[in-house]
């Protein structure tokens, strides 16, 4: 049961000029399931991407990095579910390259102009022939208004497709942003999440695309966690089709660059939070805000310690204000010179702990009231500086265990 998350309304998802999406059933793992998606780009698009820092990165991640580095204009993305093509050695690389070659042949482009993505079970051989056989149908299905269909096509254990749109004015022209993402478990992105695709018709110089992807990931997908497991396949791609009328954005720190980034970040963050809301077994959406740190990095470390603690997560599941568990997580987050007598803890508007101990005004029923909510903000002040950072996460429920004990069956 996702937390305050509904399927996208296809009519409200904005097409991005110069980009079409097609989906088909290739029978990769299970019959009767949409499992193969292509994004087809007209000539002239700028593309940037960031990928998992997991050293066991999947074959498609390795090939994506190579193709982006080669600098040929990207013309197509191909995404399969049902198989991650990770932990598959040289065969995995061969299968991924074969997929790119098959799609390139159909589109009459070079294989290096194709970016491949896979998601699903790790360490099983990719059925590359089934993917190749499905490609013509996926291409034939491609339309500019198929964003919702593509959001569905890339799902694995997701229960709700994730897609959002926004409009903004950049460089004197209206631009459109639409993005899709998938992921519900093995979510602790480190550079990007398990497949996020964000597109805009804005004109953006190719030279800034990689940095743009990095900065967007830092403000969205790199701030969420469900189970602390960094996937082998995390990939986040930003596409600018360069069809809008804005003056081309050539620097991210310009006024236009900032306006553009705000619009893109708005959608990226909605996608990232949607992944948390649809987290495996999630019953709560938790915002962990850590303030008063010496650096954003140490705030982030504390926020992740809280967000990853199974004891904190089960307390949220139970709506039990067993909030000392949060203090314990703050204490083991790895700040060697942390002074526990400076710590303040809030649950939404409730001041729970002050100077490292329970606040005299704190009453169990106040904690209980907030813990029962579907959306909760944990706020910690470390009392040692002015830096801050925020992470979004879920609780840990019986359903998470059930889903992951059954995932392959």
């Amino acid at each position: 049961m996702p937390v305050n998350l509904s399927p996208p309304n296809p009519a409200k998802l904005l097409p991005v000029a110069g980009l079409r999406l097609g989906v088909t059933e290739a029978g990769i793992r299970k019959p009767g399931r949409k499992d193969l998606t292509v994004l087809l780009l007209d000539e002239g698009a700028s593309v940037g991407g960031v990928f998992t820092q997991n050293r066991f990165c999947a074959a498609p991640v390795q090939v994506c990095r190579q193709h982006l580095d080669q600098g040929q204009p990207v013309r197509a993305l191909v995404i399969n579910t049902g198989n991650a093509n990770a932990g598959t050695g040289d065969d995995g690389l061969r299968h991924t390259r074969a997929t790119c070659e098959a799609l390139a042949a159909l589109l009459k482009i070079a294989p290096a102009q194709v970016l491949p993505f896979s998601t699903g079970v790790i360490m099983e051989p990719l059925p590359a022939e089934r993917i190749a056989a499905g490609l013509p149908a996926a291409i034939a299905d491609a339309r500019a208004d198929h964003w919702a269909r593509a959001a569905e096509g890339i799902m694995t254990t997701d229960t709700v497709p994730k897609a959002f749109s926004a409009r903004a004015t950049v460089g004197g022209a209206e631009i459109t942003v639409t993005g899709i993402a998938k992921g519900a478990g093995m979510i602790r992105p480190n550079m990007a999440t398990m497949l996020g695709f964000l597109a805009t018709d804005a004109r953006i110089d190719q030279a800034v695309m990689k940095q743009l992807a990095l900065e967007l990931a830092e403000g969205s997908f790199n701030r969420i966690t469900i189970d602390g497991d960094t996937s082998t396949n995390d990939s986040f791609i930003v596409i600018a089709t360069n069809r809008a009328a804005n003056a081309p954005v050539t620097a991210l720190d310009s006024a236009d660059g900032q306006a553009l980034k705000r619009a893109l970040l708005d959608v990226a963050r909605q996608l990232a939070q949607a992944i948390v809301r649809d987290g495996e077994g999630a019953t709560k959406f938790i915002t962990v805000r850590v303030e008063g740190g010496q650096s954003a990095e140490e705030c982030r470390r504390v926020a992740y310690a809280i967000a990853h603690s199974p004891l904190v997560k089960t307390a949220f599941f139970a709506s039990d204000p067993n909030l000392g568990r949060i203090l314990a997580a703050v204490g083991y987050a790895g700040i060697d010179d942390l002074d526990q007598t400076q710590i303040e803890l809030y649950l939404d508007d409730v001041h729970v702990a002050t100077q490292g101990g329970r606040h005299s005004s704190y009453r169990e029923e106040d904690g209980q009231r907030v813990m029962k909510q579907a959306e909760i903000t944990v706020r910690v002040n470390l009392g040692r500086g002015s830096a801050a950072d925020t992470v979004w996460t879920t609780d840990l429920s019986h359903e998470y265990v059930s889903i992951n004990a059954d995932y392959r069956s």
Copy 2:
């Protein structure tokens, strides 16, 4: 349901000359439960301890450190369950000191000769008066053969008391070692576990006791994890009553020191593994062995990444050989220059992956066979050196979620 762990047979637990244990019901949190334990030492004992590295360490941990540093001979330990006295600020310190003073007055010793320990809920005021009121009964109960009773007295969510004994020959004389421990959740000791007490009648110089405690913890309690949550109260104490006939051990690297350490480590490791076997909701006992590293530290990091992964842990719970999840955890363990093509993975005797991909001889049914066992060894070879390390852990089951969603109720 603990994994291959039975309650200790009181008749097989060896008394340690110069040490008596007493237990009572002080009504600290729930009525009708043994919750207050004292260990009374005759004059002349050597004592060393190590404590949690959690910066939110509990009041008793702070006082224990002070008392040990003051260097007065330790004569008594007092342990309450039902309340951790952590996240309790200055009041917590006052309550702990009051407990030490009350016991010191009854025993006619100095308060600094008492070491205090607490375990239970965090951030609730310690009922120091109830503890003081219970002390006379605990003292009256003290006997040298009450080890099993004390093991029961210090339990919280443990389902089985944990106590082991060993005999060894050191410095020409037979010595005795007996220890007790508690802990089942919030277990990822960093220096020591949530209350472990190890005693020997051997003659050991006080000067080496702290180092001895450190080294024993490193080989036992610092190698286990259940949920990755480092407790606020972890404390591990080693007591030598100096009653045996051995030549006093004055250096740990001497032949006698090594023999002594082996005997103590044998019991410490049994206690640490017993905590894992009785881990909250545990259905499996998992040994994670990482070899072929450049340093023991990096092996340990990889082992903990595997041992903490909720996805790996739920796969063990399900007996599902979804072993790609182990490779993913190896990949995000933080070794920046890890080469995935060098990784070998074994499950007991089954060679699962070679050179980063599935081994050609690997068959699902072989993985399935091992996964169904109650005790499983995961062995990873990183292929980059000759260092190794081992960590012990459990699976993640529905029962873990239930226990921690209900703990306070």
